[in-house]
């Protein structure tokens, strides 16, 4: 009836790829974290599109769970980041590498 699903799915795939790339190239922990949100949104878009294609409500419910998980992840993640960076001026992921080898 309207836009073919493939368009949404390719869009989602591009968004996923961008999110993944962003995670790998950015050094700011918070921005890396935002990139994870981008990836999760790509997945949500994929779920919704498949739900429409399959005429199945399940896909939409799955998105609901992803949203909840994402919210909880954000809380915990930001708490860890705050706990770790409270005394540091610059918050880049590269500043944290005591453990290696």
């Amino acid at each position: 009836m309207s836009v073919p699903s493939a368009w949404y799915l390719v869009l989602a795939a591009i968004l996923f790829g961008m999110g993944a790339t962003g995670l790998l190239v950015r050094r700011n922990v918070l921005v890396m974290f935002m990139c994870i949100e981008l990836m999760l949104n790509a997945v949500n878009l994929t779920f919704v599109t498949f739900a429409r294609l399959l005429n199945d409500i399940g896909g939409q419910v799955d998105v609901l769970f992803v949203l909840v998980v994402a919210a909880a992840e954000v809380v915990v993640g930001l708490a860890i980041i705050v706990a770790l960076f409270r005394r540091r001026a610059a918050a880049t992921a590269d500043d944290i590498h005591i453990l290696k080898g």
């Binding site: 993944a20 790998l24 944290i96 453990l99």
Partner: protein, 659 residues
């Protein structure tokens, strides 16, 4: 028959006590305790043996389960002792020779700060070796196999503060790991094919002719088993660790690296005879390895200066004989030679230890000489051992070697030719040794003066020796004069001398005294080892030739080394360098390959075996270091690695989806 449990329990208990309480037991007591345990085990073995002897020959195999272990599929592997002629024969000489050497060690190790640790190892070794031979399944036997390897590792590296001892121990350990792989793979194949490890399931049907085995299966299993045997018994191509293992204390060389552990490979091949029977190829491999090793090692032994290294190469060479006999299908001859060898080689090593002891840690034969005057017990003992090893009738070695050579002749005259050449060389290098050590001028005066202060535990510059000299130092020994060893050391020598002189009577088949043959007959029925006979005439001719050759070697050695000590023309460099095998392969490997390899930090330098052995450790550690660089600590790098992995997996499935 309940004494059967005691056979293994006594040394085990001894090892445990010495491990946990050894430090609290005073010096000689722990040695006596260990000796008592080993001797008790020997007594139990004798009891079991006599019990079995009282039974008809067909029912001399008893399986005593200790406990049921792992369930594999529907089948339970039980750990038990299989008391049969083969295992009992081995146990007899393991415990017998083991007790004597433990006794001898009391004197030899006196004053060593790690005295009780040494005896812990000895008891643990005897226990492991007994498990190896008495186990009723291959898996249990493998435990013993690993156990003796561990004890050998601990004992070779006993004086680990010396770098060479540590390196030698490592070499022995890693070389044996190679063999262990073979054994383990054989185990898995065996389990896959038979569904069991038990001798009664795997071997008995084959031995009784109720089952057959495909040639390919038999060959593969056999080759893997032989790989294990070759590593443990120091045969080509894995023989290099044994001469280096002489870094250990001399009683260790006598017990582990001459009489018992190195014959584990011989035992394994004999045990697996029913499998080998279905693979002529594997038999040929065994025979060829034996022939090649006995000759190669004998040539190298001709030019060694270190008294123990001569004996070490000689051991490699003699085990080659045993393999030769087994590959030729005459297992009894191989085992006969094993037993005889245990007697005379233990005797030779212990005598050598006595000599080293007397000369305050001198091991170079070129700095000995004229010792017959000073060592009234050691000298005749060594001479008997020498005559037995040189196969001069009527001593031990002659009779067993005669049977080995007859079997080799039957298999192929080429194998026999290798054997007879080795016989000549053996007589030659042994008479050279005797000449250098006991006759000629005393060349040890200066040496003794230089080394006299080092102490008497056999190893120069070791803290053990330094410690020892404080207690029994040069003052007690009145300068550098060679002296006979204490009684704990000479008694075993005397016993072993008698055994080396008359042990052959155990299997004197011309007089109907072929006890070992008859005893082992139920283990090697016609379905396992195709019987063959060499006609009496041929046997006589072969025997006469062997005797002549042995005397030839003896006279050659005695004559050529009558005067000079340094005869470079008789000590060609290629032999002194052990045929350049180490160096040769080292050159190939460290040439273009090394240049390539260094880029990846795989360092191959010290020679073939060293390169291989250390290479395993080094390349693993080197690879580890390289990989550690990937572990940068930067979380984004890790994420990238996950990304790369994801891309790779996706790439793979895209190819699958595309096809």
């Amino acid at each position: 028959m309940n004494a059967a449990y005691l056979i293994v329990a006594l040394p085990f208990a001894g090892a445990l006590v010495l491990l946990f309480a050894g430090r609290r037991i005073l010096d000689p007591v722990s040695g006596w305790f260990a000796t008592a345990m080993a001797a008790g085990s020997f007594v139990c073995t004798v009891i079991v043996w006599s019990t079995l002897l009282g039974r008809p020959s067909t029912s001399r195999s008893v399986d005593k389960t200790i406990f049921t272990w792992m369930p594999v599929g529907s089948l339970h592997v039980s750990f038990g002792l299989q008391l049969d002629p083969l295992s009992i024969l081995w146990s007899l000489f393991v415990t017998g020779v083991g007790s004597l050497i433990t006794l001898y060690s009391i004197g030899y190790m006196r004053g060593d700060p790690s005295f009780s640790r040494f005896f812990f190892y000895l008891n643990a070794f005897i226990f492991s070796m007994l498990i190896l031979v008495l186990a009723d399944n291959f898996l249990f036997s493998f435990l013993g196999w690993e156990g003796v390897g561990f004890c050998s590792y601990g004992l070779v590296g006993f004086w680990f503060e010396r770098n060479s001892a540590a390196v030698a121990a490592k070499k022995a350990f890693v070389t044996n790991r190679v063999g262990d792989f073979g054994f383990m793979i054989a185990l898995f194949l065996m389990f896959q094919h038979f569904g069991s490890f038990n001798y009664s399931v795997v071997l008995a049907p084959l031995a009784s002719g109720h089952a057959t085995l495909a040639n390919s299966t038999a060959t593969f299993i056999s080759i893997m088993l032989v790989l294990g045997a070759v590593a443990k018994s120091a045969q080509i191509p894995l023989y290099m660790w044994l001469p280096d293992a002489m870094e250990g204390p001399t009683p260790v060389s006598a017990l582990i690296h001459a009489a018992t552990m190195v014959t584990a490979g011989v035992y394994l091949v004999a045990r697996a005879a029913p499998i080998l029977h279905f693979s002529p190829d594997a038999q040929w491999i065994v025979a060829s390895i034996g022939a090649g090793t006995c000759f190669l090692a004998a040539t190298i032994a001709c030019v060694q200066d270190d008294i123990k290294r001569v004996l070490a190469y000689s051991t490699v060479s003699q085990i080659g004989y045993m393999f030769l006999a087994e590959g030729s299908g005459d297992y009894q001859a191989g085992i006969y030679h094993t037993v005889m060898h245990a007697f005379f080689k233990a005797l030779l090593f212990l005598s050598a230890g006595s000599i080293i002891h007397a000369l305050h840690d001198e091991q170079n034969m070129k700095r000995m000489g004229n010792l017959r005057k000073y060592l009234p017990i050691t000298f005749p003992a060594f001479m008997v051992g020498f005559l037995a090893l040189a196969a001069i009738p009527p001593f031990d070695g002659f009779w067993s070697k005669d049977e080995v050579l007859a079997a080799a002749w039957h298999k192929s005259p080429v194998l026999w030719a290798f054997g007879i050449a080795t016989a000549f060389l053996t007589a030659y290098y042994m008479s050279r040794q005797v000449r250098l050590v006991f006759w000629g001028k005393s060349r040890w005066n200066s040496a003794a003066a230089a080394h006299g202060a080092a102490g008497d535990t056999g190893i120069p510059l070791s803290p053990a020796a330094a410690h020892g000299s404080a207690a029994h130092g040069s003052a007690a020994h009145g300068g550098g004069e060679p002296h006979e060893a204490p009684r704990t050391m000479t008694i075993p020598l005397v016993i072993l001398t008698v055994a080396s002189a008359f042990g052959w009577l155990l299997n004197a088949n011309f007089a109907g005294l072929d006890f070992i043959n008859k005893w082992l007959a139920p283990i090697f029925p016609a379905t396992v080892a195709t019987p063959f006979t060499v006609s009496t005439g041929t046997k006589w001719i072969l025997g006469v030739i062997a005797t002549l050759v042995a005397f030839g070697g003896l006279f050659a050695g005695m004559g050529l080394w009558r005067r000079a000590v340094d005869r470079p023309e008789l000590e060609p460099a290629f032999l002194a360098h052990a045929w350049y095998i180490d160096e040769g392969i080292s050159a190939t490997v460290s040439g273009p390959l090394a240049r390539m390899a260094t880029r990846f930090s795989f360092v191959v330098d010290a020679g073939w075996v060293d390169g291989l052995v250390n290479g395993v450790g080094r390349s693993a550690a080197g690879a580890g270091r390289q990989l550690r660089r990937l572990q940068t600590g930067y979380v984004r790098n890790y994420a990238l690695a996950i990304g790369v992995g994801t891309a790779a997996v996706l790439l793979y499935v895209s190819m699958r989806a595309g096809s």
